[in-house]
């Protein structure tokens, strides 16, 4: 399973764009990169998934360089409700391993 490294925490203000980078140097050819969001006392929630280049949905964008050894989750114009822990996961389909994630704090 590919090991991931993310910043432990990040701070931002409402209305700013937030970019969270995850490194996964030993990503395998078949591995997808998936990001989840977790609020306190709730289950993780799927945000976005990608394999290469750029993926965008209604809540976020995911940028993956050609070597796929890292990825960046981009949250446009964050609000207070985006305060949460964000997890980058890479690996086998059936046994996703959650790291410590990035704790994002959005302030007014």
């Amino acid at each position: 399973l590919a090991k991931t490294t993310q910043p432990i925490s990040m701070d931002s203000y409402e209305g700013q764009e937030v970019n969270i980078t995850c490194s996964h140097n030993n990503i395998a050819t078949n591995d997808y990169i998936t990001w989840y969001q977790q609020f306190p006392s709730q289950g993780p929630r799927f945000i976005i998934q990608g394999y290469k280049t750029k993926v965008t949905n209604e809540v976020a964008s995911l940028f993956i360089p050609a070597d796929r050894k890292s990825s960046t989750l981009s949250l446009p114009r964050v609000s207070l409700s985006d305060t949460a822990v964000y997890y980058c996961l890479v690996g086998a389909f059936q046994k996703l391993v959650f790291g410590t994630g990035t704790r994002l704090l959005v302030s007014p």
Binding site: Y32, T34, S41, G43, F46, Q49, F93, Q94
Partner: protein, 118 residues
């Protein structure tokens, strides 16, 4: 949007007692999972289940744990004799797998059952 539902939301039990945590996965999903999260710690994989059998399990999932899909909708986790260290949030998840293997179907999680062992 369909969701994974878990009951109860909070379960308190005494050490040594058996508990069953219940989950209703999303109806067209084929893979089912249990994860747990001890307060302030990581989300940890316990077990995955497909086609009525365990497909993978972690070292946490010892003989005290078992899973079952007793009917077409429920998926349960049983802890036979609870220990204090089993106190945690237990999350059920489900996913659809593309048979072609070309898409890594994301997991959909429930909101968990908080298990407190006293």
């Amino acid at each position: 949007e369909p969701e994974v539902t878990q009951t109860p939301s909070h379960q308190v039990t005494q050490m040594g007692q058996e508990v069953i945590l219940r989950c209703v996965p999303i109806s067209n999903h084929l893979y089912f999972y249990w994860y747990r999260q001890i307060l302030g710690q990581k989300v940890e994989f316990l077990v995955s289940f497909y086609n009525n059998e365990i497909s993978e399990k972690s070292e946490i999932f010892d003989d005290q744990f078992s899973v079952e899909r007793p009917d077409g909708s429920n998926f349960t986790l049983k802890i036979r004799s609870t220990k204090l260290e089993d106190s945690a949030m237990y999350f059920c998840a489900s996913s659809v797998r593309d048979p072609g293997g070309s898409y890594n179907s994301p997991l959909h999680f429930g909101n968990g059952t908080r298990l407190t062992v006293t």
